[in-house]
């Protein structure tokens, strides 16, 4: 687990903690700027982005394509280094870690759900879900037991040995969700997780992600351009032209069940 970094014992810090008992945010973004060189010019993708996401929050980063939301996600997850500013997750300066430290950090603390599922085609559902545990060196028996458990929870108990090509898009994305949550990470990044799905399946997938997050008090960073998806979040941060233009709390649209339903109707629906 990440321990929020102690901020020293300055009088100011002590005072603030006494007054308002706000938990330290798990994700902190400070004055983030990202430029890309395009031919002779530089394009500013992100500028002066400041953001603090507390633990357990489902935070949606909302914006049109080209608004810089995917760039922000890449910065948060340590996929790219910022031009200026920095990102801390649980106090760890993600943007300053070496490649090896980043790999170890991702193994332990981060989960990913991708738009295009990104399952390995030559691995079965169980093997795909168990993959992050394999990178940690967990023995096969143990990690596959864990993977089977999560797969059953997302309603794929009957598809454990199937390969991605034998499953529908919705089923594949549920495998992807199981993979993101199997390590019980503190933070899960979801990049347009419903982008390739039909509207009925979209709702199921979003319910599932939110259910996991609520059960384990996990933080979700959801990137989407779909207002309907954004409505699942506790908070919606709107990006435009690389800047945060709106940041407000949201009452989640649907009442989210604490346990994901695994009725046969759900499994059949996304075929």
């Amino acid at each position: 687990m990440i321990r929020p970094q102690s901020h020293g014992t300055s009088a100011n810090g002590d005072e603030r903690e006494k007054k308002v008992r706000v938990p330290r945010p798990i994700i902190e973004v400070r004055n983030l700027r990202k430029e890309y060189p395009v031919e002779d010019e530089t394009v500013v993708a992100l500028d002066r982005v400041n953001l603090a996401i507390p633990q357990g929050q489902i935070c949606c980063i909302f914006g049109e394509s080209g608004s810089g939301k995917s760039t922000l996600l890449n910065q948060l997850a340590g996929m790219e280094r910022p031009t200026r500013g920095g990102v801390r997750i649980g106090g760890v300066p993600v943007s300053k870690l070496s490649e090896r430290e980043l790999a170890a950090f991702r193994q332990k603390h981060l989960g990913f759900v991708f738009q295009s599922y990104n399952l390995l085609p030559n691995l079965t559902a169980v093997e795909n879900v168990a993959m992050p545990l394999m990178f940690r060196g967990v023995p096969k028996e143990q990690r596959e037991r864990a993977a089977r458990g999560v797969l059953k929870r997302v309603g794929l108990g009957h598809r454990l040995g199937h390969y991605p090509r034998q499953m529908s898009g919705g089923q594949q994305q549920r495998v992807g969700i199981a993979r993101a949550f199997v390590t019980k990470p503190e933070v899960v990044f979801a990049d347009e997780p419903t982008g390739n799905l039909d509207s009925k399946t979209k709702a199921e997938v979003m319910d599932m992600i939110c259910a996991f997050a609520r059960d384990f008090n996990q933080t979700i960073v959801l990137v989407t351009h779909d207002p309907q998806m954004a409505s699942y979040a506790d908070r919606i941060v709107t990006l435009f032209d690389g800047k945060i233009v709106d940041d407000r709390l949201n009452q989640p649209a649907s009442s989210v069940p604490s346990i994901v339903p695994s009725t046969p109707a759900v499994q059949g629906a996304d075929r």
Partner: protein, 496 residues
């Protein structure tokens, strides 16, 4: 990541592109086979050369002789050297020498007589004196009988008994093929071919027959044979002849490298020969004896060059098979390098095949690698994974290649032993008399009289497998590094 998991992933990945993997492995098999077979053919030449040399004589014996005046320049002037007892003693002191014997020839004409009234006569008999204590060490062998135990006992050459002529029947001789390539034949008009007569028994058994030696300082030969040949040598002065009854204790096996006397003549101890000379010519014996030749045996083959150069530095002329062996070896080595090089080229082609396969594999799996990195896979694990795949292709190619080349080599040997052995003039056991199992075993392990064309020593297999694996790793290194550099971002991008 556990190495077992990496291996499992490798197996899955290789198996995913079955035909491509199999074709790449096939390339390595061909490369490995060609290297192993080429080197094995060169090894076969080597083995045949060694057998040839072995048949020519003992490779560890150096023959020492005198040439010309026997003077050596020592820097402070010339010094006369002699091949005498003192020299022999100094030869024994050389490091790496295990035995020394002089070879002394009786310098006078001698005749052997046997049978009632000297009926059987052998003229111009070679008499050789050697150090009997060194008899076995120098490679002499007894064909029959025992070593001389007392003074005056001698050994007789293997074919000496066939040198006798029956003087009562006008010089009739008994015939035997002496196995040295010189045989007589008589023309048969009926068949139109020259037929070799059948081997006969000699007139008598030399070990059970009283033989008398006749010689002298100016002895020319037995009068009866002289008469038979038309009295060629000057007669007259056959003044003092020495006559000696011989006691033959054994028969020496004929060996052309160890003196003609071993074939047709007498072999006795040097001391006995000196005594005989003293009896024939007392004045000459007093001048002290020098030897015609001295045989020096090295402890093993590797010390031959050192011993030889030491002898040469002492001022003696030497002769051994070392030079011949060396030049043959060099020739074989250059053939080996050429053949191995041809094999290496095909393995290089296979290596490029491995590199190609790995580059393709990396390109295809760009996305997967990105996903793995995004999910926290260590860069080192990805590199190890790709290297293991490349190494596995090399290893299995090498393994199968070795098995295959072993079988091919066996086939070559079986065919060669059956059909082509006589072409090379190397004696091969009569293949008809051997069962298939025996021939199979000979093709596999070789033997004294077996001609093998392809010889694979165990280290060649080991080398081939290691080399193939290493080549796989080496040529997989570039693609593996390329894989490592793929950014995790590529996977996150929503490209289908």
């Amino acid at each position: 990541m556990r190495f077992g998991d990496i291996l499992r992933l490798c197996r899955q990945n290789l198996w995913r592109r079955k035909s491509r993997t199999i074709l790449t492995v096939l390339g390595v098999i061909v490369g490995c086979c060609s290297i192993v077979l080429m080197v094995s053919l060169a090894q076969g030449i080597n083995e045949r050369n060694e057998q040839t040399l072995k048949q020519m004589g003992d490779l560890s014996i150096v023959t020492v002789y005198m040439n010309g005046g026997g003077t050596v320049n020592t820097g402070s002037g010339t010094e006369t050297i002699k091949l005498d007892d003192k020299a022999i003693e100094s030869f024994r002191q050389i490091e790496g020498v295990s035995g020394v014997t002089p070879m002394m020839n009786f310098p006078y004409n001698a005749t052997l007589k046997a049978g009632a009234g000297g009926r059987y006569v052998a003229d111009y008999v070679q008499i050789m004196g050697i150090d009997m204590d060194q008899f076995e060490r120098m490679g002499y062998k007894l064909k029959d009988g025992v070593m001389p135990a007392k003074d005056g006992q001698v050994l007789i050459g293997e074919w000496t008994a066939y040198d006798f002529m029956d003087m009562l029947k006008g010089g009739d001789m008994r015939y035997a093929n002496r196995g040295d390539g010189s045989y007589s034949c008589t023309y048969n008009e009926a068949t139109g071919e020259c037929e070799e007569p059948e081997d006969q028994e000699p007139f008598f058994d030399p070990m059970k027959t009283q033989i008398t030696l006749v010689t002298g300082a100016d002895y020319q030969g037995d009068p009866s044979t002289m008469q038979m040949y038309g009295n060629m040598g000057g007669t007259g002065t056959q003044s003092e002849t020495v006559s000696l009854d011989l006691n033959v204790s054994g028969v020496v096996k004929a060996d052309g490298n160890k003196g003609y006397a071993t074939s047709s003549g007498l072999v006795m101890s040097v001391d006995d020969l000196k005594a005989l000379i003293a009896k024939v010519n007392p004045s000459a014996a007093k001048q002290g004896t020098t030897y015609d030749q001295v045989l020096v045996k090295a402890a093993d083959l590797t010390s031959v060059p050192e011993v030889e150069s030491q002898l040469k530095s002492m001022g003696y002329e030497t002769y051994s098979y070392e030079d011949m062996r060396k030049s043959m070896e060099e020739q074989t080595r250059s053939i080996q390098i050429i053949l191995g090089g041809i094999g290496a080229v095909s393995l290089l082609v296979a290596a490029i095949g491995i590199a190609n396969t790995m580059v393709m594999s990396v390109t295809e799996r760009t996305r997967e690698i990105g996903i793995m990195k995004a999910l926290g896979c260590y860069v080192r694990d990805i590199r190890v994974m790709f290297l293991t795949e490349a190494g596995a292709i090399g290893f299995f190619g090498g393994l199968i290649g070795c098995v295959l080349s072993g079988l091919i080599s066996l086939g070559i040997n079986l065919i060669g032993m059956t059909y082509f052995a006589s072409m090379y003039g190397v004696s091969t056991n009569d293949t008809e008399s051997l069962s298939f199992g025996e021939r199979f075993w000979q093709a596999l392990t070789g033997g004294e009289d077996v001609t093998r064309f392809s010889v694979i020593p165990w280290w060649l297999f080991l080398f081939a497998i290691l080399f193939s694996t290493l080549i796989g790793l080496l040529f997989g290194f570039g693609p593996a590094n390329k894989a490592v550099k793929i950014p995790a971002l590529d996977a996150i991008k929503n490209s289908e």
